[in-house]
């Protein structure tokens, strides 16, 4: 089955810093989502981005499906950005979303 790996596994930032999170996948996908899991365990949709680039405030994401990766950019990080970031992918011909290994982010005040 498809493998989904995220890097880095852990990241500590000072408030105000920028960061890039990466999601690599081993097969072609037709859907990709980025989620933020907050310290209370809630999974929050960030982006639905099977290809191209999207921006939402301080966050933006780019998926290059042909090269099998997606990037999540966080600018001017805030303590509320802390948590775990997951990408989830779905391949054509299957029905299920497979989650990546996650990046645990801690933003220090």
């Amino acid at each position: 089955g498809i493998q989904v790996e995220q890097s880095p596994p852990d990241l500590i930032l000072q408030e105000g810093a920028n960061s890039t999170l990466r999601c690599n996948f081993s097969d072609s996908v037709n859907n990709l989502q980025w989620f933020h899991q907050n310290p209370w365990g809630q999974l929050i949709n960030l982006f639905y981005i099977p290809s191209g680039t999207k921006q939402n405030g301080r966050l933006s994401a780019t998926t290059v499906a042909t090269e099998r990766y997606s990037l999540l950019y966080i600018s001017s990080s805030q303590t509320t950005d802390s948590g775990v970031y997951f990408c989830a992918v779905k391949t054509s011909g299957t029905y299920k979303y497979i989650f990546g290994t996650g990046t645990r982010l801690k933003v220090l005040a």
């Binding site: 365990g41 999974l43 639905y48 989830a88 979303y97």
Partner: protein, 113 residues
């Protein structure tokens, strides 16, 4: 728009007992998913429904887990009997259709002692 509703939020049971979780998806969402998230790991799909039919249950431990989605709306996930390794957060998600984003509920945190 109301989100995905799940209950209970927390449950503590002893091993070999049974437990059930309930999920009400976003209105109009045809696809419903149950995921298991063990501490420190990403969510793992247990079962996926399209309306009231099962489209994937390949990772559901069928000797102890069961799920149903009557009338294509609400769903229940049951564990009987529970084992210590079933301690996890059980997440329900829904989507409008297959090529559309997932929306998650707040989850049920299960502790098996």
């Amino acid at each position: 728009e109301a989100g995905v509703a799940q209950s209970p939020r927390y449950k503590i049971i002893e091993k070999r007992q049974s437990v059930a979780f309930w999920c009400n998806p976003i209105s109009g969402h045809a696809t419903l998913y149950w995921y298991q998230q063990i501490l420190g790991q990403g969510p793992k799909l247990l079962i996926q429904f399209q309306n009231n039919g099962v489209v994937d249950d390949s990772q559901l431990p069928k000797d102890r887990f069961s799920a149903e989605r009557l009338k294509g709306v609400d769903s229940t996930l049951k564990i009987q009997p529970a084992k210590l390794e079933d301690s996890a957060v059980y997440l329900c998600a829904s989507s409008w259709g297959r090529p559309s984003p997932l929306h998650f509920g707040n989850g049920t945190r299960l502790t098996v002692t």
